[in-house]
Symmetry: C2
Subunit: 365 residues, 2 copies
C-alpha cells in the first residue's frame, strides 16, 4: 500500500479525500485485503439505556474499564442535582465525529465510495471520460497516476455529483445505501455503526443531552440515514457544505447541487461549524483523528465540566488498525495531546466487548 500524505493544508478542502482514494486505489476499489475483520459475534441484542436505567447497567458492550468508568462518572456528575459539576439540560451538548467515530471509515470514508459509484454511474453520459487518463486510472486502480492528478480527480468527482437537485441526490444516496455492501466486511454500510457508541448515544439521550454529529462529510449524505441508525434527527447534523443554488425546474422551486465546497467542516473548521450551527460550546466531544483535534480542544476549554474522547482503531481482527501513519484520518497530534488535556483514549480492542450491532437499525430503539 502506498503512503501518500494527504495535502490537508492545500486550498481545495476535498484534497484529503483524493489522498484517501490514492492511498487505497490499488486495493480499496476492488476490496482492501489485509485487514478483513472477523464477523463480530458478541453483540446479541444488547439492551440500550433508557430513562431510569441504572448507571451500572449502562454501556453493556463496553468493558468494565477506566474509559467506561470515566464516561459514567461524567454523565453522573453533570446530571446529579446539587453536584458542583451539575450542567442544566439546555447546555448538555454532545458532539460526535461520524466517520471512524460512529461508524467505520476504511478503506476510505463511505461517502467517497458513494461518490465514486456516482462517477461510474454517470460514465455512460460522459463518453469523453473514456479518453480521460484520470478516469481510466481510477477504473484501473492506478494509484501512481491518481497521485499525480489529484485536482483532476476531484473535478471529475464534483462533476459526477452535481447538476441534480437535492431531492434527486437524496434518493441516490438512499438507493446506494440500500444495495451497496462494504468491499471487505460484506455488510451494508449502515450496519457498520458501532454498537458501543449506540449505547453511549442512548445513555446521553436518556440523560438529557442534545446530541449532534459534527463531521468532515456532508450533512446531505448523512441526513437520510442517521435518524434510523443513531436516533439523531436530520437537523442535528453539521458537515462540510457544498454549493447549492435555488432555482426553478419544470415550474417547481428546487435546490441544485453545484460543483465546489463552500465550507470545510474539518480540523479548525469544526469549532466554526459548531458555533454557527449550535451557538453553544459543547461539554462532550468524541472523535478519532487529528481532524477532530480542534473540536476536542474547543469543547474541553470551557469553564465548566467537559469530556474529550478519542477512539483508537487498534483492532485489526474485528475492525481495522490505523493511527499515526494512516495517511488519511491519522490519529497522531491529537493522541499526543490527549494525556496533557485529560482526553480519554478509548481502545477499540480493549474497551469494547463488541464492535458492530448484531442487527442494524438498533440506534432508534
Amino acid at each position: 500500500m502506498q503512503t501518500v500524505e494527504p495535502l490537508r493544508s492545500s486550498r481545495n478542502p476535498l484534497r484529503y479525500l483524493a489522498a484517501a482514494i490514492v492511498l487505497c486505489a490499488s486495493v480499496a476499489l476492488a476490496g482492501c485485503a489485509g485487514h478483513a475483520p472477523q464477523r463480530d459475534g458478541q453483540s446479541a441484542a444488547a439492551p440500550l439505556a433508557t430513562p431510569g436505567t441504572q448507571m451500572a447497567d449502562a454501556l453493556p458492550s463496553w468493558q468494565d474499564s477506566a474509559a467506561r468508568a470515566a464516561i459514567l462518572k461524567f454523565v453522573g456528575d453533570v446530571t446529579r442535582d446539587g453536584s458542583p459539576s451539575y450542567v442544566r439540560p439546555e447546555a448538555r451538548i454532545a458532539v460526535f465525529d461520524n466517520d471512524g467515530t460512529l461508524w467505520s471509515e476504511r478503506p476510505m470514508p463511505f461517502q467517497l465510495l458513494f461518490m465514486i459509484d456516482r462517477l461510474k454511474a454517470a460514465a455512460p453520459q460522459h463518453p469523453e471520460w473514456q479518453r480521460n487518463p484520470v478516469f481510466k486510472a481510477l477504473m484501473a486502480h492506478d494509484a501512481v497516476t491518481l497521485a499525480k492528478n489529484e485536482n483532476a480527480l476531484l473535478q471529475l468527482l464534483e462533476v459526477a455529483n452535481s447538476g441534480m437537485t437535492t431531492d434527486q441526490y437524496d434518493q441516490m444516496i438512499r438507493d446506494w445505501l440500500a444495495s451497496a455492501r462494504h468491499p471487505t466486511l460484506d455488510r451494508p454500510y449502515t450496519s457498520l455503526v458501532y454498537q458501543p457508541q449506540l449505547e453511549l448515544l442512548a445513555l446521553l439521550r436518556a440523560n438529557g443531552f442534545q446530541i449532534w454529529i459534527v463531521s468532515g462529510g456532508t450533512a446531505e449524505f448523512m441526513r437520510v440515514w442517521v435518524n434510523e441508525a443513531y436516533g439523531i434527527p436530520p437537523e442535528r447534523v453539521v458537515g462540510t457544505q457544498e454549493k447549492l443554488k435555488y432555482g426553478m425546474r419544470d415550474g417547481k422551486p428546487v435546490l441544485v447541487r453545484e460543483p465546489g465546497i463552500e465550507f470545510n467542516d474539518d480540523g479548525p473548521g469544526k469549532p466554526v461549524g459548531i458555533v454557527r450551527a449550535i451557538g453553544q460550546r459543547p461539554i462532550l466531544a468524541f472523535g478519532n483523528s487529528d481532524g477532530d483535534r480542534e473540536m476536542l480542544e474547543y469543547t474541553t476549554a470551557g469553564t465548566g465540566p467537559s469530556l474529550g474522547l478519542l477512539l483508537h482503531h487498534d483492532d485489526a481482527s474485528r475492525e481495522f488498525a490505523y493511527d499515526r501513519h494512516a495517511g488519511s484520518a491519522s490519529l497522531d497530534k491529537a493522541w499526543d495531546e490527549a494525556a496533557g488535556r485529560g482526553w480519554i483514549v478509548v481502545s477499540m480492542k480493549q474497551d469494547w466487548k463488541t464492535v458492530f450491532p448484531a442487527k442494524p437499525g438498533s440506534g432508534t430503539q
Copy 2:
C-alpha cells in the same frame, strides 16, 4: 426622506444594509420622525396558548378575521389524527423571518443600529476615522455622501465589528440590548417583538411544531436574546454567516470574527439556509418582505399541506407603514404573488388587536 433603491443584486451581501442606512441617515440615527406610533395599550397580559388550550381561545391578540381562521384551520388540519392533511410531528417545521416579522425593523434593522453603535464605540481607537469622509458623513447623518460611498461605509462597519472573539461580541450585544432604546418608540429593542406573533409561536409549539428563525441578520446577533424573547432555542436560528477563524488567544481556543460575509441568508439564500440547517422542507413560512419570497415559495411548493404568510406593515399609528416603495425590506413582488399562491397577507392594522406586548419577555412563558 430620500429613496435610494437598495443594490440587492450587487456582490456585497451587506449592500442592502448600507442602503437602509443611507435611506434613513438623515433622520434615523437621530430618531426617525413621521411614523412615531402611539404606545400600544391593549395588550394587558394576554394569555398565551398552552397545550390543552382550545383552538377557539388561541391567538387572543388576533382579530377574529380570515387570517386568524386560516391559521387555526391549518394547525387543526395538520395535527388532527386521521385528517387527510395530517402531518407527523417531526415534519411540522415552521420558519419565521425575524426583522419585520417577529419584531420591528424600522428605521432600519436593529442589528445595523447595533453595528453603527459599535462603530461609534470603536472610534476613539481609530483617530484616523476623524479624517474619513464616510465616517464624518455617518456622524453628520449626511445621506448624500453615504449614498455615494456605500462600499466604504460597509468596510468601516466590518472593521468596527470584527477582530474580537465571538464570546466578546456576544457580551457586546447583551450590553447593548440592556441599555439601548429605539430612537422613536423609546423602548428597549427586545420589547418591540409582536404580541400576536408570540401567541402564534406558542400555539405552534403547543401543537408539536419545530420553530426556526430564518433571517437576513446573523444568528450571532439573535441567539443571545431569542430564547428569552420568543422561546426559540439558540440552535434553531439560521442567518447570514460572517467569517470566523479558529485560533488561540492567551492560551485559550477562541473564534475570532473576521471582516466579510460567507453566506447571505436572504432571498434565494433562505431556501439554501433552510436545507443546510434543517434538512427538511418547512410546512409553514411567515415573512414580511421580498427577501422572504423564495422562502415562502419553497415552503408552499411541497406535496403536502403548507401555509405561507406575509405580514403587511400598514399601521402607521401603532407601528410603521411601508410596503412597495420602502427602499429596503420592500413588500412588492411577494405581495403580487400572494393571491396566486394562496399566501395569507396579514394586515397589522386590521388583523391584530394589539402590536407589542404589555411587558417584555413573555415569549418564554
